[in-house]
Symmetry: C2
Subunit: 524 residues, 2 copies
Amino acid sequence: MLTGKNYIGCALSADGNKTFTTFNPRENKENQQVFFEASTDEINQAVELAHLAFQTFRSIDSHQKSNFLKAIATEILALDNSLIYLVMQESGLSYERVINERARTLWQLQMFADLLTEGSWVEATIDTAQPQRTPNPKPDLRKMLIPVGSVVVFGASNFPLAYSTAGGDTVSALAAGCPVIVKSHPMHAGVSELVASAIIKAAQKTGMPNGVFSHLNSSGIGVGVQLVKHPLVKAVGFTGSISGGRALFDLANQRPEPIPVFAEMGSINPVVLMPDALQKRSREMAKIYAQSITLGSGQFCTNPGLILGIKSADLNAFTQHLADEILLTDACCMLHPTIVNNFETNKEKMRQQKNVDTIVSYERAVKKNDGSALILTVDGATFLKNPQLHQEVFGPFSMVVQCDSSEELETILNQLEGQLTGTIMAEETELSSYQNTVEALQNRVGRIIFNGVPTGVEVCPSMQHGGPYPSSTDSRFTAVGIHSIKRWVRPFTYQNWPNELLPKALQNENPLQINRLVNNVFIK
Amino acid sequence: MLTGKNYIGCALSADGNKTFTTFNPRENKENQQVFFEASTDEINQAVELAHLAFQTFRSIDSHQKSNFLKAIATEILALDNSLIYLVMQESGLSYERVINERARTLWQLQMFADLLTEGSWVEATIDTAQPQRTPNPKPDLRKMLIPVGSVVVFGASNFPLAYSTAGGDTVSALAAGCPVIVKSHPMHAGVSELVASAIIKAAQKTGMPNGVFSHLNSSGIGVGVQLVKHPLVKAVGFTGSISGGRALFDLANQRPEPIPVFAEMGSINPVVLMPDALQKRSREMAKIYAQSITLGSGQFCTNPGLILGIKSADLNAFTQHLADEILLTDACCMLHPTIVNNFETNKEKMRQQKNVDTIVSYERAVKKNDGSALILTVDGATFLKNPQLHQEVFGPFSMVVQCDSSEELETILNQLEGQLTGTIMAEETELSSYQNTVEALQNRVGRIIFNGVPTGVEVCPSMQHGGPYPSSTDSRFTAVGIHSIKRWVRPFTYQNWPNELLPKALQNENPLQINRLVNNVFIK
């Protein structure tokens, strides 16, 4: 079923000489399928085809585009267990997790299909003419969001389905009317090819132009660099490391025509434990945090890697409970030996920092490529002085910072780099006395959580997944939810345009029956 | 009344050694007032004070913020003729033009004051909890737009009021809840100081925190560079040249923490003359275009610098009429001798390009610093090959490109750089036969106009002022209208937050009575 080839639109292609394979971390062996890296010719063909496809795709009827997205969901579902098992083989993720991630992927497709059917997302804004106005007549002006052009998507290592080939970036860009070129993640190139085949089938069945989707392989950075530099590429979506995201961001901004890059680059997701909460429920909190830290071997961008509290017997009790609870968890497989090796290296680097103590190290015999959790602790003053301690350790890891005072805690929050999330564990009664702490945290994050865990990113309109740099490259956008479409669209205004030649969203009769702002009043 | 000093919050300060003066182009002489460039200390003080002010300003009640904006309008109006005459002295603009620009500035303040009072601009989005959902309960999530932090604004040379100190960038940033530091434009530093004094008074009268607004002078680029590099600055607004805007954009992206720069950098605003329209009304079109090209000495970013048509006797008739009409216009004063010199140099450079002919050169004796209009013409093939001919000539200038065919015209449009506007002069009946031409133009611009002129940027919600690079640095935003506030805000989500501690915009009871998306349905 797999070919290892690239999709240039609907055509399979393998012109290049470089090949690579994927790896099964659970069985600790190479997978058999050989993948062909895209050549420069193939890259250019894919981008040029996308540009051609854009000329028709951009103005295809919303309902037809919606059917395309629903057809992708149908085709992914039709891949059935061949897809599920391949995800497991290429990522080490559990059956249940993969089933859940597929459900999330299908839900995202459905959500954008519904958004297109409903239609108000284009933010139609109309100001009608006032020909009699003095000194100058007021023209008729009508604005809506239109697609920016071809988008390149880089999939995430840790979400082979929901943040990869047919994941959030791809589906929001297609919904916007932008052709997409996916650079497959080398760790799950097979999964990516299967999903790409589903997208191609769906495109063909629903009459989409050839080139609306292409799929290119590579094990290194060369293909991605060429894609981002191509003049006909107009935006980039990326989920991954800070170094990777920043490199693409820099490339894109150095182009003669700079283009937007939305890179979601993870974070350490600070959690603040307030005194009353610590006093009342340190055991309960330790339990849910042991679960959150080790969930999926800690391989989530919202993994709580930093826990802050004020020194106290209750905080000590919490760390003791956390140690106990961590030892009760089961270790589980990480995505790839490279991820395991980086995890071990980064843990060791943290452990060797000055004044850092170990709360618990998961030393039980674990299977090859399983992640062994580590919880460290350090005092607030040391943490403040040592930026190394602020770095993300991707895997089941967290650092408990014991502050001398609420002022020190606040100073730490103010000096933290940007984060996807921040969490406050507190009694409701004490929340208002820590207003400064809450505001300091709010300034550094995209989402703030009360008495919960940051892991578990709900896919819904009110989700913000993104935040101040470096958690993302542009805090003004989200990678999750319907508003993620805004990354790929630009406002466009028609002045005095004949009514019958306007897009339906802007015609007088409001044929699409969408919500519009007309002469500064919201009406339908 | 003028001091030449900087405002660090409400305190006047002149610590630096460098000074400069402004120039009266109409009387061709230096103005008397000496201005003090901001020192590094003053820059740091202003930014740190803004950061402090942000902690309170961000959460000040909308109505209070709205009153602040209205008070700015009142204080500007109170400056009365002292402001009007100073604008004329520092820019050479006419009395009528300055009165109009002041009206526009006041209208912008009122528009944002109204936006804040109405309140729905925060895009409140709510998904209520489903505690019983399996396998995982759904949390309560509530999202709204919040300010990004301190914003630096660089005023425009050509709009001393409406796009400068209290212009669109400043007012949209203040409305968003961001403190603003204005780097005054050196050509009208006196006007900028007067307007700054009005903003400071308004801030004091309406109880805004000190530092919500600061105002720094400089004749060169040093102060701006330091501001953009300062870690506590979180976004930048700029209106001016491509070289200036790109330099700031590059600086901002090279920071350890990159920040968004919205630079509106002008364009040549292509106008396409369709055959039937040329046949029916070449004289009428020549008349309105002669007016548009020479309006305000051509010193508008939407000045029509490029006119495209297919070779024909009708196009020849148009160019002849255009020449006649240009000679009937009155020359008027340009902003500054530097602008006049650049205009003369750039005109000469264009005139010396291969295959370029002069349609009309305004040779009547003009006053010192008046702009002498020039209209050139060239064939399509030459225009395509010579990128120099695509450059903006700031002033009363336009280039008529005579194409061999509609295909050549379309090729030219496809190869043009990004533009603020594009215009189609056509009979309604012929518009549908040139669908490809219209789409090619749409791809390159932010606003498309039917049978009109690009000059005259209406301030209303449906206006898009911005476009593909290099007309702006990010086509996803606008510099004009209520949606320009989106440049300075980021979505922020509260998860499971206690209702009474939420911002009012997100509370269950909807106390602000704003439009919200609740469980994916728009309700009030």
